[in-house]
């Protein structure tokens, strides 16, 4: 066994152990913290699988933003329950063996499917590589997201907006046009405010860089947008910025813009070219950049609003 194999095996064991802690821990708060660590370990797994784009996404969204969101939710639930950390009380002991059997069967079925995967494996990699020159991009994953399977990405934008609509519609009647989340009161001279002042400019720059290099290297619109969203959230948590009211027209324009530009390009492709979302080869790169810019702005705003939560204060 080589050192790389040992790393593979060790990391696999660690990921499973941390996942088990997330599931079995008695403290909900500890489980959420473990989940953040779990997400980071999973993104290391993605690096080992040579899928660096996915690793960046998992670290930023799967671990980072989901972690912030669930930590916030756990804290609010704890406050409501009157302070103490709710111990995880499980279902009746008699039921647990049945749950274990179901889980075991699912695992066995999936493992059998993995072991029985066809050899040689079917792949679209040659087709993806062959189409790259037409898109003007160097990163085949970005090309898949924005060009080959653009419809998926367009519909995903719609899903994000729908999720946000669902979230906003949970607001109480008197504040539903208001600002999401509670007013953050952080010490203006405290560590958090200091961190937000220093880190946000650098972080926004890194986010834009990750977006820009995504054309040819690992990175892209989602990963860059998530970093920008995280910086905005940091500024809001430090009390340097306030969440805008959800009824503001500018906010809504930004949130709808990504899908809107994407749709417009798609319809133009239908009118001028061969099909919905067909990009004329001569201008493919310019069109792709236009879509990505609109998408980055919209995704950053949508992700931040999804973390900020339901409107709770009047505008």
């Amino acid at each position: 066994m080589s050192a790389a194999d040992l790393l593979d095996l060790g990391l696999a064991g660690l990921v499973i152990a941390v996942a088990a802690f997330t599931i079995f821990s008695r403290s909900t708060y500890a489980a959420v913290v473990a989940f953040v660590a779990y997400g980071l370990l999973v993104s290391l797994r993605w690096v080992l699988l040579r899928a660096v784009d996915v690793a960046l996404t998992e670290a930023a969204i799967g671990s980072g933003l989901t972690g912030v969101l669930l930590l916030g939710a756990a804290a609010k639930l704890r406050e409501r329950a009157g302070g103490g950390d709710e111990a995880a009380h499980l279902c009746p002991p008699a039921m647990r063996p049945f749950a274990a059997v179901v889980a075991g069967l699912v695992t066995l079925g999936l493992a059998a499917a993995v072991v029985g995967l066809p050899d040689p494996a079917p792949t679209l990699a040659p087709l993806a590589a062959a189409g790259l020159p037409d898109t003007g991009l160097g990163n085949p994953v970005t090309a898949t997201l924005i060009a080959y399977r653009a419809t998926d990405t367009l519909l995903e934008k719609v899903v994000l907006v729908l999720a946000l609509l669902g979230l906003w519609s949970l607001a109480a009647e008197d504040v539903w046009r208001g600002r999401p989340g509670l007013k953050q009161r952080a010490d203006p001279d405290g560590v958090l405010a200091y961190l937000a002042r220093r880190l946000v400019p650098v972080g926004v720059l890194i986010g834009l860089y990750v977006f820009w290099v995504g054309a040819d290297h690992p990175g892209g619109a989602f990963q860059g947008a998530t970093i920008v969203a995280a910086m905005w959230l940091l500024a809001m948590m430090a009390g340097l910025a306030d969440t805008p009211p959800v009824s503001e027209r500018g906010v809504r324009l930004v949130l709808a813009g990504g899908a809107g530009v994407f749709f417009a390009v798609g319809l133009a492709g239908l009118a001028l070219g061969d099909a919905f979302l067909a990009y004329p080869a001569a201008h493919a790169k310019a069109i792709i950049i236009a879509i990505e810019v609109a998408m980055t702005v919209t995704v950053a705003a949508t992700l931040a609003f999804l973390v900020a939560g339901t409107p709770e204060r009047p505008a």
Partner: protein, 119 residues
Amino acid sequence: MSLSGGATLFGVAGAVLVGLGVYGLIVSPQPLRKLLALNVIGTGAFLLFGTVARRGADAGLPADPVPQALVITGIVVAFAATALAAAIMLRLARVAGSADLDDAPAGEAAEADVAERRE
């Protein structure tokens, strides 16, 4: 280990993660724990995609980019679903006093909602 052997190990680990998540989803009555379990299932399923992508390495690419793109879309959608679920959970906690699925009978929750609206 060969390329496909290593990829298979990742796939089996993904299957174990899905199993752990399924167990947690069934046994915990707390919605937040169920949400965590659901996310563990999600990452496990994504790693299965990663196995398929890695096995599809060809044409000078270290992995098939199509499953990778699907997973990136999947992670973003999973996050959106988690955010919506968390908001519903907090709303339930507000109107029913607790988000626990054990002690929030439908009748009580509905009464609390009516009471809140009257305020």
